[in-house]
Amino acid sequence: MRKEIQLAGFGGQGIVLSGLILGEAAILDGMNAVQTQSYGPESRGGAARSDVIISDAPIDYPKVVSPDILVVLSQPAYDKYRSEVGKKAMLIIDSDLVESDESALCVPFSKLADELGRRIVANVIMLGTLAKVSECVTRDSLERAVLRNIPKGTEELNLKALDAGFRSA
């Protein structure tokens, strides 16, 4: 089993961190994972992408060949990356930030995050939804991976965000 997931958005949305957490959850599940990233020199703004490969076998070629899932959290990232990805990939988009006329799982991650009080957790909500629909990582491992990678004092907020993601799937 080899699953390829691409996460895309703009710098500052936590795209790279999301990939890191997803990969870490996979290794906590006892799987192999490789995470790579591409982003511009800007710390905020430019297009950012994080690729995660999860496999029960050792991963030799570390690049995504044909993504099973594409998650897009910004319109420029959609315009830039959508055409590179085959139509068979499952598409998950932030319905308030991305306009698309193709069939996709549309969840207002940013709005849900605003409702929780901090837009910064939109990526964690997205991870919850992604885990629920793809079953690429277990909820238990994802929770542990989130907790290993967030600042102290934000545990409750992030677990709430993860839960909101699972419920939105």
Partner: protein, 395 residues
């Protein structure tokens, strides 16, 4: 390192398995190997190693110092080694170029140290964020004069950790700089990384003199000797110079005899140990008629391609160079007697291709598959090149 020291390091490094970048794994390997001095200058894509060392060193009684440039960084590392510490620096292309003179100085003064070069596209500042394998030859020949050193090439995050430990062990054992040639791709990717347990961790410490002070010969011994290192603070009188020196360490710059004796020994101590320094991974070589010889990140693409070809019943083998310098000539010669052709994919316009051709000495075809610009090869490119080699004729 005793069990108590190990436990403290484990606590410092956090959870295992970790999901970290290759650059960070290099820092983990260094700390586990006993490195307690890091001097460096940040450069993409090697900065994360320096960043990790900056956060780890204070927690284990070590020193992190950001120098004004890479020349100063390697100089500080050499000084730290002579003060008795295991010391490391990390850099990338432009910084590696700046370090060349002092790498020669470390060879001449027999200073154990580790240099991690996270390769990026050159020449000059080139493509800072893009991976390359363009410094394979520079690692061997970048400084002037005759010398030998050791270079290791990891292809995964786990191997970054493992080979940095090995690099320290070899540098302590042979009193040479050991260069770890990783690249921007391995350096920045994250993978599962298991931190070795206490009983799995085998560390080598430099030999120090045991003779009375007055009879210590700091650069003596036989033709391939690695003399015990009377570093500063042990109480032995040692004069350290990059000039040609006698066994006592004193300059002897006009003596052909002293120069020949010294430089021959510096080379022979590595050359005569070269069989023990062979680090290769061989797969699918049974009945192989052709082989892909690769290293670093490219070897992972090569393995994928070889597996594809094997599924198609093609008799293709795989050989990966983990130890690049000294070059495992005998193994390549052996391979050339078995196969009809070898394909060498690498992220440069022709570097390791050359020592392979030299080792093979015309016994089989050697084809080259260069790629530059920052993208790693695709499996399809390697499959296609192997098929071309299989169908091709001797030029």
């Amino acid at each position: 390192m005793d069990k108590q020291g190990y436990d403290a390091i484990r606590k410092l490094l956090g959870e295992s398995p970790a999901f970290v970048q290759g650059d960070v794994a290099c820092a983990y390997g260094a700390v586990l190997a006993g490195c307690r001095y890091f001097a460096g200058y940040p450069i993409t894509p090697a900065t994360e190693t320096a960043e990790s060392m900056a956060s780890l060193m204070p927690g284990c009684g070590g020193t992190y110092i950001q120098m004004e440039d890479e020349i100063a960084s390697i100089a500080a590392v050499i000084g730290a080694s002579w003060a008795g510490e295991k010391a490391m620096t990390t850099t990338s292309g432009p910084g590696f170029s700046l370090m060349q003179e002092n790498i020669g100085y470390a060879c001449m003064t027999e200073t154990p140290c580790v240099i991690v070069n996270v390769q990026r596209s050159g020449p000059s500042t080139g493509q800072p964020t893009e991976p390359a394998q363009g410094d394979m030859m520079q690692a061997r020949w970048g400084s002037h004069g005759d010398y030998e050193l050791i270079a290791l090439v990891p292809n995964s995050v786990q191997e970054c950790l493992d080979l940095v430990i090995e690099a320290f062990n070899l540098s302590e054992r042979f009193r040479v700089p050991v260069i770890v040639l990783t690249d921007g791709e391995v350096g920045h990717m994250r993978e599962k990384t298991v931190i070795p347990e206490f009983d799995e961790l085998k560390l080598v410490e430099r030999e120090t003199p045991t003779v009375p002070r007055e009879s210590y010969v700091p650069f003596g011994g036989g033709e391939a000797a690695v003399p015990p290192m009377g570093f500063f603070g042990l109480g032995y009188r040692t004069y350290v110079t990059g000039l040609t020196h006698t066994e006592k360490g004193l300059p002897a710059t006009s003596s052909a005899e002293e120069h020949t004796k010294l430089v021959s020994r510096l080379c022979e101590k590595i050359r005569q140990a070269s069989e023990s320094l062979v680090r290769i991974e061989e797969r699918y070589l049974d009945e192989a008629e052709f082989a892909v010889v690769s290293y670093g990140i490219t070897s992972r693409v090569a393995l994928n391609a070889v597996r594809t070809l094997r599924r198609r019943k093609k008799k293709i083998g795989y050989l990966r160079l983990i130890g690049l310098w000294p070059f495992p000539e005998e193994r390549l010669l052996g391979l050339s007697k078995q196969v009809k052709g070898i394909l060498v994919p690498e992220m440069n316009l022709g570097q390791v291709y050359h020592p392979i051709r030299e080792a093979v000495a015309g016994k089989c075809r050697v084809a080259h598959l260069p790629k530059i610009g920052g993208e790693i090869h695709t499996p399809a490119e390697i499959v296609e090149a192997v098929q071309k080699l299989m169908g091709g004729r001797r030029r």
